[in-house]
Symmetry: C2
Subunit: 153 residues, 2 copies
DNA sequence: AACTCCCGCGCAATGTCCTTGCGAAGAATC
DNA sequence: GATTCTTCGCAAGGACATTGCGCGGGAGTT
């Protein structure tokens, strides 16, 4: 994959904000003909720079309105321990985000649930079953203040 | 806004996964004619159920590759205190996510930065300037394990 | 400098898609 | 049972996406 030039990054910036814009308008906004723009977009998608497009729904339209932030500590920091944990956590469909962290806990997870009963099920069937876990700390989001897809206004 | 029926939710589910699908294919997958589907989609967008579409970029294509998780405590829990903090935090473009939380800290933030120097600037100019803050605790993501837009496979 | 190669562009054409008007069928209301 | 409201499918016209093609500028070579 070649490096991204000015026009590519301009396209990416626009598509981050407006993922369903027409190719014609995208072309106009980056100063390219529709055909050239279409070809570049094709490359960006096929090379994996753009991994997908997603509709962003209002909170009330979602089935999963409960967000839990889960801090997890493992029993060790060996590469094998981390790898086994990560392989397992990827299988849980309710885990939206998982980072390996610096600081007190090893991992931080953002987990989506329908309600408290649903979270109890997820905690029991998935989180507690993760390997090498020695401490789980769940906090719940009481209210969403900001949820932006990317840096911007 | 009327309640969402089975077809609406089917459309939303598909668009969450494939935000740039053509209206024709969307119509086919929910068993509707293209015209009817286009009209329903129009309603979903204008009523705010769908708040936008966004391209999801690969990590290496992003300018902002550094993710900080910031825990913040305020000096009190009065409604006015919370409201003033929230108004201020919304102005910081680098804050991607902000939740009011249960538990030890009042707020949790997900902050995007280009590098450590950029984060230092954000911390100094934005986070430290937020009103009523008495404690800030930053952790950094060492590695991204999962980043899904919504619940699913 | 002249040549060639190669990459990316715009133009044009074709086929697909999106949208709007229209009439009909079904559900709800009176 | 008549009226009204909603939502559908169909059809048409216009917009859009995509592909082949030829051009032109830059890089590397002779």
């Amino acid at each position: 994959m070649n490096a991204l030039d000015t026009i590519d990054t301009a396209m990416l910036r626009i598509l981050q904000q407006s993922g369903r814009i027409s190719n014609a308008e995208l072309a106009e906004r980056v100063g390219l003909s529709p055909s050239a723009c279409s070809r570049r977009l094709d490359i960006l998608e096929k090379s994996g720079v753009i991994s997908g497009y997603h509709a962003h729904l209002s909170q009330k339209a979602l089935d999963y309105t409960m967000i839990a932030i889960v801090h997890i500590s493992l029993s060790g920091q060996f590469a094998k321990t981390l790898a086994e944990f990560e392989t397992a956590v990827k299988l849980c469909p309710n885990v939206l985000v998982c980072y390996l962290m610096s600081g007190e806990y090893d991992y931080i997870l953002r987990v989506a649930a329908k309600d408290l009963a649903d979270y109890e099920r997820i905690h029991r069937d998935w989180l507690s079953a993760l390997p090498h876990v020695v401490k789980i700390n769940s906090s719940f989001a009481l209210r969403e203040i900001i949820d932006r897809p990317n840096v911007g206004v």
